[in-house]
């Protein structure tokens, strides 16, 4: 089985549980009190990371490198949680993680960083990332990074990757109707934008954490300033999903009754 080199492009987003309030800052659009919000690894990118680590564990890949563009202090904070999950190396770029940054600028910075990566082997390269993003990103960054690196075999909405005995990649992409499109790719380089995959979130493993952190901390300390702006884009308006909660505690309600209430609730909109 070939040993691929997997780069996972992923950054951080405010913990989706938090209440987000958009506003205009001197630097452009932002979120109120964004510095106070706890952050997590973008859940879509996290799926990609766990799938990549699974391929390493199966012997299909040699190592995983997470390439993350985000504020160094917040990246460091998130690595304290993610670092216990699976083994990986980190290439940290100290810059904005806001989804309001221009996707073209972000992709340019990421592709430059990838191209400079010591030991990069394009013939073994699988570029992983999230199919979408839980940030305010446009969801096109990964695709542009691939294009800027000249990687044109791109798959999005990936739920499963199987390495066949001849080294080909069998890929399941989500399509309409809950079905998958099955593709066969002769081999790397390729871009895979993951949906949710099939793996549960790995357990926290302190041994993994100890091993990871010996490299993660120096990587964070070496994070180079990487500015990325909004590319001259002017935001007319910004709207976040409306949060509506009506909490009741009801015991022993039938499934039919729950479904009826949900339908009524959805119809309100």
């Amino acid at each position: 089985m070939p040993a691929y080199q997997i780069l996972v492009l992923g950054s951080i987003v405010p913990d989706p549980l938090q209440t987000l309030e958009p506003l205009t800052t001197p630097q452009g659009p932002g979120l109120k009190n964004e510095a106070m919000l706890p952050h997590v690894l973008d859940p879509w990118a996290a799926h990609a990371l766990y799938e990549a680590a699974s391929l390493v564990a199966k012997g299909a890949a040699s190592k995983v490198t997470l390439v993350a563009l985000g504020p160094k202090a917040k990246l460091q904070q998130v690595m304290m949680a993610v670092g216990q999950k699976v083994p990986f190396e980190l290439l940290a770029l100290d810059g904005p993680a806001s989804g309001f940054t221009d996707a073209h600028e972000v992709s340019a910075r990421l592709s430059e960083a990838v191209a400079r990566l010591p030991g990069l082997d394009r013939s073994a390269l699988l570029l992983f990332g999230g199919w979408e993003s839980a940030s305010r990103g446009a969801g096109v960054t990964l695709q542009m990074v691939g294009e800027q690196l000249g990687i044109y075999d791109q798959f999005f909405g990936v739920d499963e990757l199987t390495v066949e005995p001849d080294g080909a990649l069998r890929i399941l992409e989500r399509v309409e109707g809950g079905k998958h499109q099955v593709s066969r790719c002769a081999g790397p380089p390729a871009v895979l934008g993951w949906a949710t995959g099939n793996l549960p979130e790995p357990r926290n493993n302190p041994q993994v954490g100890m091993a990871n952190m010996r490299a993660l901390l120096p990587a964070l300390q070496k994070a180079s300033p990487t500015p990325a702006g909004i590319g001259g884009v002017r935001f007319e308006s910004v709207v976040v999903p409306r949060v509506t909660r009506e909490t009741r505690i009801v015991k022993d309600q039938s499934v039919d009754e729950i479904a009826r209430e949900l339908v009524e609730w959805i119809r309100k909109d």
């Binding site: 510095a35 706890p38 904070q77 304290m80 216990q84 926290n204 041994q207 901390l217 909490t247």
Partner: protein, 620 residues
């Protein structure tokens, strides 16, 4: 013919182990002080490196395991003089820490009861009448014209401890010399005789009863030459040590409180400026103290403390908090505010008298769980941080001298430092300051003043009883307001409906209904979801366990249900409370509120074990 045999049971994964030099349990202010001190020394290239004995050839291996899912989750807000914090960070600029502001104005308000439902003594009723008669009240409150100096937080700082912890974790991690691992609860200490040899992490991949399930991963044994125990007053490891080693002399943990708060966005036209601090007493019940701290950017923390000496068995923090914020003295600021965050936490109020054995072979204790809180000045964060710094300095001294972490060495290097510090001196002064509260609020306040003004030489000495013995009966608490026969009827009705007692009793006692506005006044479950963002990762066992169901069934008070900050403990089947791990915020109020003591022990019929998840807000 071949015989088919059924596959044998799959062997469970074996328990892994890890060797480090120093393992810390819990990341709060104390550990922040410890790791700040130690990490700076480890990063100091001008001094000889401190090598690891656990991993020869590597630098000292220092890890910190935090139960909550991130550094700064599940803690509290505070106003502090920040003496130790400023000493550790001489260039501290509050503007660099979200939600931090220098104290600009500090007031103490006595709150008159505007609804007539509060249980007030004859003395307080007379005080209320007198103040009203002489027009001494403004918005049903009376500002004390003078307060003793020891209560002041002059030149202090208003912090969100969540934000402060995130900032300090960032400072520590940036040194690159120690590791902080959130989301990693420690189940227990590895004890050999009287020595601690490390910690065992919590099992993952188990069901509610702790039985192995899918993805079972036994908690790792982390062997360490030194275990730093800083898991707070209800932490599993600290309490395990207390049970194993006992308490020195007559020390005991008898006094507690649960602090519950809201973090709100104040309206744009608020007259309150950052750094405003209000302390209140008198309402919603005389035993319940409250506060309002104003952070920068029109954010405020507002909350109450419900103490163990409040004898009501229906001591619901959340309902009382809702009445508190509606008091006219506060509602004038909060009427158009909006909830940002919510949380609750137990506070050990025994102070110096709750001090356990601070050191032993292979372990040291710091922070609130080590009895560092000053119960006279109501200050704990700075004291906790100071004990961490003291241990850090002591540990560096031992490491540089290549001396082992034995009890005598830790006594010399850490305990001696602590005994010679202001933490100890002021802790001694405050030691008996709260004793009068067992006899009433006014007596308690007199006792505090007496203790503070005489430097601790005089007090209204009265050894507090075990908190389980401080809980009165519903009938006594509501005597004169609700006839006993009606209490019995209400109790039967609530049992039938499977709901706690407190709402029905408070409604009947004259507390007005809460006019839910969806902004500040929200249901308790919405406070969890919108404010605390409470989470519980799958694969962990229940951490609240009722030991003997028969004792629960026989308990007529069920204070655990009434005080539960998150409605995680509810009336269950057959009279035994039911625990819902997904709602728990790990405040620990159920532990010290359980009125059923196990015969001949200090323990109660409820176990509060290590657990995962809880609050997901770093604004508290």
């Amino acid at each position: 013919m071949t015989e088919k045999t059924a596959p044998g049971p799959i062997a469970p994964p074996s328990r892994q182990s890890l060797d480090v030099d120093i393992a810390c349990v819990g990341f709060g202010p104390a550990t922040a002080g410890f790791l700040t001190t130690l990490s700076r020394r480890l990063a100091d290239a001008s001094r000889p490196p401190l090598p690891s004995l656990a991993s020869p050839g590597l630098p000292l291996q220092v890890v910190c395991y935090e139960r909550a899912d991130d550094a700064g989750f599940g803690v509290s807000g505070v106003v502090t003089r920040a003496r130790a914090i400023r000493a550790a960070f001489p260039d501290l600029d509050p503007a660099q820490i979200p939600m931090a502001a220098p104290v600009r104005e500090e007031k103490v308000l006595y709150l008159v009861d505007p609804v007539g439902a509060s249980r007030r003594s004859v003395t307080l009723r007379a005080a209320d009448r007198t103040l009203r008669a002489f027009h001494g009240v403004d918005h049903d409150s009376f500002e004390l014209p003078w307060t003793p100096e020891f209560l002041h937080k002059t030149e202090g700082i208003v912090f969100s401890i969540g934000q402060l912890m995130q900032w300090m974790a960032g400072q520590v991690m940036a040194q690159g010399t120690v590791q902080i691992w959130p989301g990693t609860p420690v189940a227990e200490a590895l004890i050999e005789g009287q020595a601690v040899r490390g910690v065992r992490l919590l099992d993952q991949g188990v069901d509610r009863q702790g039985r192995p399930g899918a993805g079972y991963l036994p908690g790792m044994d982390v062997h360490a030459a030194l275990t730093v125990v800083a898991d707070g007053p209800v932490g599993a490891v600290g309490r395990q040590l207390d049970q194993t080693l006992g308490m020195p002399g007559r020390n005991a943990r008898r006094e507690w409180a649960v602090g519950m708060k809201l973090v709100v966005d104040l309206p744009e036209d608020t007259p309150l400026s950052a750094g405003t601090v209000l302390h209140t007493f008198g309402f919603p019940e005389p035993e319940i103290f409250g506060f309002l701290y104003v952070h920068p950017d029109r954010v405020a923390s507002v909350g109450i403390f419900v103490p163990s000496w409040f004898d009501s068995p229906t001591r619901t923090s959340y309902r009382y908090l809702q009445h508190y914020v509606q008091h006219p003295a506060l509602w004038r600021y909060l009427q158009s505010a909006r909830l940002r965050s919510w949380g609750a936490k137990s506070l050990l109020e025994s102070g110096r008298r709750g001090e356990p054995f601070l050191v032993g072979d292979g372990f040291a204790r710091i922070g609130e769980g080590s009895g560092s809180t000053n119960v006279l000045t109501s200050s704990g964060v700075d004291e906790a941080f100071a004990t961490g710094v003291q241990l850090g300095e002591g540990v560096i001294e031992l490491l540089e001298a290549q001396r082992p972490f034995t009890r005598p060495n830790l006594e010399t290097a850490y305990v001696t430092r602590r005994r010679q510090s202001w933490v100890e001196q002021e802790g001694r002064v405050s030691e008996r300051a709260r004793d009068g509260f067992q006899r009433g609020v006014v007596t308690g306040l007199v006792g505090m003043a007496l203790s503070g003004l005489t430097g601790g030489r005089a007090s209204l000495g009265h050894e507090p009883p075990h908190p389980a013995d401080q809980v009165g009966s519903v009938e006594t608490f509501y005597a004169g307001k609700i006839p006993a026969a009606e209490v019995a009827r209400i109790r039967a009705d609530c049992e039938k409906r499977g709901v706690p007692l407190h709402d029905a009793l408070m409604d009947r006692a004259g507390w007005p209904p809460i006019p839910m506005d969806g902004q500040v006044l929200v249901s308790q479950q919405d406070a969890l979801l919108l404010g605390g963002k409470v989470q519980a990762p799958p694969g962990y066992a229940d951490h609240v366990v009722f030991l003997d169901p028969e004792l629960c069934r026989a308990c007529g008070k069920r204070v655990c249900v009434e005080i539960c900050s998150a409605e995680a403990i509810r009336p269950g089947d057959a009279g035994t409370p039911a625990f819902d791990r997904e709602k728990c915020v790990h405040c620990g109020a159920c532990l010290w509120s359980c009125p059923t003591r196990l015969s001949g022990t200090e323990r109660v019929n409820l176990e509060f074990r290590a657990g995962a998840g809880g609050l997901h807000s770093a604004e508290n």
